[in-house]
Symmetry: C2
Subunit: 198 residues, 2 copies
């Protein structure tokens, strides 16, 4: 599941240049959504990606489709990063590093998920189910390893942790300052290390 050979469903794989452009579009869109919300001009998105509008519309026929793909893309990147961290760091450090990245994801998620929900209505439920499942899988791998190693308490489950972390973000409000959630987040992370008496 590297950045190459992106396939949407099971159709014929994209041509190399097409895959590259698609990636550039998603990156540009993600940046702009973060900065200015999901109402930005699609022509501007194409311009920033260094691509014609035609290419944008070929890949993402509607604005909401672009939003959905950016959302899924963010999640995929977050999960891929989880795998990388798991391979590179000791379990409890990998978990902590991943949760820090999860914070950034949670911040951007708000706008995207809101737009999706209001535009797609109940049709958005499969998107959210997919995302939930992916996070569950990646999170469990990290949490499980740390728990097996004995450096993280065993009485919590993946979704408890993710909820706690995203709760911190919500509580930190819309403040764009990442420092605002630094300390509360620290508390949650340290809480994971605490071993309750049996």
């Amino acid at each position: 599941m590297g950045p190459a050979g992106v396939t949407t469903g099971s159709a014929r794989p994209l041509r190399a240049d097409a895959a590259r452009n698609r990636e550039k579009l998603l990156a540009a869109a993600r940046d702009m959504f973060d900065e200015a919300g999901t109402d930005v001009s699609l022509e501007e998105v194409a311009r920033r990606a260094g691509v014609g509008v035609g290419t944008l519309y070929r890949n993402f026929p509607t604005r909401i489709e672009l939003i959905e793909q950016v959302y899924r893309h963010n999640v995929d990147e977050l999960c891929a990063s989880g795998d990388r961290l798991r391979a590179a760091l000791p379990p409890s450090e990998a978990l902590e590093a991943w949760l820090l990245e999860f914070v950034a994801y949670a911040a951007s998620k708000r706008g995207l998920a809101g737009a999706l929900r209001s535009a797609l209505g109940d049709g958005a439920s499969t998107v959210f189910a997919d995302v939930h499942e992916k996070l569950q899988t990646s999170g469990s791998a990290l949490l499980g390893a740390a728990q097996a190693e004995g450096t993280v308490r065993t009485d919590v489950e993946t979704m408890d942790v993710l909820r706690a972390v995203s709760g911190v973000c919500v509580a930190a409000g819309d403040s764009k300052d990442p420092a605002a959630s630094r300390l509360p987040l620290r508390l949650v992370l340290d809480g994971l290390r605490y071993q309750p008496a049996p």
Copy 2:
């Protein structure tokens, strides 16, 4: 507070033609918002009102201002209708007739209030406070009269009734069919007539 001499704040009253056009714009906007949401083209609103766009923008410099005024206008009309009903019908019938009109208001309110809240943020709170107070006043006059007459139970307050009625609407969902809420609404209205043992 008739339809003439509309004043926004305490400025000089509008010229007759201006007041007429303002009214036409509000009516057109209300219809279109009901039909197609608050994202409709403002040029189309002006067209339907039989007025130039310039006139629209002079009266409502921003879309959100138009939405807010339509919202307030709906409420004002509902309250005015309450006065009329109270003068024309026996108290309990007036109350019931008014609550039926309240249903229509509650349906349209959803879209408008949502747009206001998301666009104005906390700035919208005075709008909602004003509206709340007006409904409280009109509702109390009708309910109080019916209670004084003895045809409606005395252990409920205005906001209880309004909440119950709008609850019915919400529960009826987005179904545009007014029949969907007819029976549940009937239950609430009949419930008002029931006299609990003391």
